[in-house]
Amino acid sequence: MNFKFHVPLLLASCTLLLFAGCNNGGGLDPNTASALSPLIGQQNAQFLSAGMKGVNAAALSTKDEDALGQSIAVALTNQYPPVKNDNLQRYVNLVGLAVASASPNPGGNWIFGVLDTPDVNAFSGPNGYVFVTRGAIEHMQDEAELAGVLAHEISHVCSHDGLNQIKAKEGTAALAEAASAADSRLAQLSSMSDAGYDVLTKTGYSQNQEFAADREGVKIMAAAGYNPESYLAFLRRLQSQQASSGGKLMSTHPGIGQRVSRVSQELQSMPHSGATLAQRFQNNALNLH
C-alpha cells in the first residue's frame, strides 16, 4: 500500500483555520498572526491581524460562510480530486448524514466527499463541507470508524471556533464600512479563503480544539447509534502504524497517543454499545478506485 502517513494532518481536521490557536478565547492576536505568517503568507497574516476591517467576521452571514467553505472546498478538491466512485461517495454521504442528524446542527447543509489520496486525513470547511481521504478509509474496518472520523469533523464545523473568536474580538464597529465595500468584500473573502486553505493543508487545529472535537465527536457518533469504541480502535490502529512509520508530530498538534488516552478516558463514562456495521462498510467501501 502506498501509505503516506501524513502525521501533521492526521485527522487534524482543519475547519477554517483562520482559527488555528483560537481555543483560548482570545481571538487571533498579533502574535498568533505573526506565528502563522510563514504558513499563510505575510499578506494574509497581516490581513488577519489588522482587525479585518473589510470582512469583519462578526459580519459574516451564512451566505458568506458558505462561500468561504465552498472556496476552500474548491481548492481542496482541485488538489485532491474526489474518488470517482459514486457508490462510495453516496455511502459516505449517507453515513455522514446519519451522524449529522445527532449533531448540534442536524438540519445543516452537509456535504461529504472522499478525496483520492493515500494520505490519511480528514478535512472540514465552514458550513458543512466534510472530506475524508481514500487513505483514511483504507485504514478503517467498519462503518462506525468512518462515523467517528466524520463526527470529529462535524464537531469542528458545529463549533464555528474561529468565526466566533473573531466576532468576539471585532464587535460591530466595521460593519458599515464593510457593507459599503462590495468589491473589497469579495477580494477579502478570497484572501480569507487562501488563508484558510493554506493553514488547512499545512497545519491544523490547536491541541485543545482537536481534543474537544474528539470528545464531542464520540458523543455525536454514540447519539447517532454508532459504537464509539470503533473510533478509539481506529485511533489506536493509526497510533501503532505511526510508530512503525517513524512519523513526527508537529509541536502545535496533539500526539496521537494523547488523543488515544483522552478518548479512552472519555469512553469510560459512555455505553460500550452501538452499531459497528462492518459488513455494510466492506460492501460499500471496497473497490475505492
Binding site: A59, K63, D64, V74, N93, L97, A98, S101, G107
Partner: protein, 156 residues
C-alpha cells in the same frame, strides 16, 4: 338576536383562547433552513432569519413543526430556536444578501458568487465540488430513511 350576540361572543372567546394558546418560538440563529422533514436530507421549504417568529404546530423530539406565513409548514431543529423573543441583527454585513439567499441561493446549492469568483480568479475547476454537491443532492429522503433504518443508526 340576543342569542346570536352571545354565540358570537362565545365564538370570539374560543377563537381568542385558540390564538392565545398557539406557541410561538423565535429564530436565534442567523439564517436557518426550514425543511420538509426531520433531517438534513429533506428539501428546504424556505429559510428563516434571526428574530423571525414562528408558530409551533407540533414537536417530535428536538424537531419542531412550524407554521409559515404562507400557510405551509416545515420542520426546524430546536437548537436554532428560542422560546423568548429574539431581536433581529441591527446591522447586516451585506444588505439584501440574506433575502437573495432565501429566494435563490442556498436552495439550489450551487456555488455561491464568492466561491465562483474565487475559483475563477485562481484558475481552479469548480467541477469536482459541483459534482459532489450534485451527488449529495441526488440522495432522496426515502433512501436515507432506508439506510438509517437498516443500520439502526441516526438520531432517534
Amino acid at each position: 338576536m340576543k342569542i346570536s350576540h352571545v354565540s358570537a361572543a362565545a365564538i370570539a372567546l374560543v377563537l381568542g383562547a385558540t390564538v392565545a394558546s398557539a406557541e410561538s418560538v423565535w429564530v436565534k440563529a442567523e439564517l436557518v433552513d426550514i425543511r420538509s422533514g426531520k433531517a438534513a436530507i429533506y428539501p428546504k421549504v424556505t429559510t428563516v432569519k434571526k428574530g423571525d417568529e414562528l408558530t409551533v404546530k407540533s414537536r417530535d423530539g428536538h424537531w419542531v413543526e412550524v407554521q409559515l406565513a404562507n400557510g405551509s409548514s416545515g420542520w426546524i431543529n430546536d437548537v436554532s430556536l428560542s422560546s423568548q423573543k429574539v431581536g433581529a441583527d441591527l446591522v447586516g454585513f451585506a444588505p439584501g444578501a440574506a433575502a437573495a439567499e432565501m429566494s435563490t441561493g442556498v436552495a439550489a446549492r450551487g456555488l455561491q458568487p464568492g466561491a465562483e469568483t474565487y475559483a475563477s480568479s485562481k484558475g481552479l475547476s469548480k467541477a469536482p465540488l459541483e459534482a459532489l454537491i450534485a451527488l449529495r443532492k441526488s440522495i432522496q429522503p426515502a433512501e436515507y430513511e432506508s439506510f438509517i433504518n437498516e443500520g439502526h443508526v441516526g438520531a432517534k
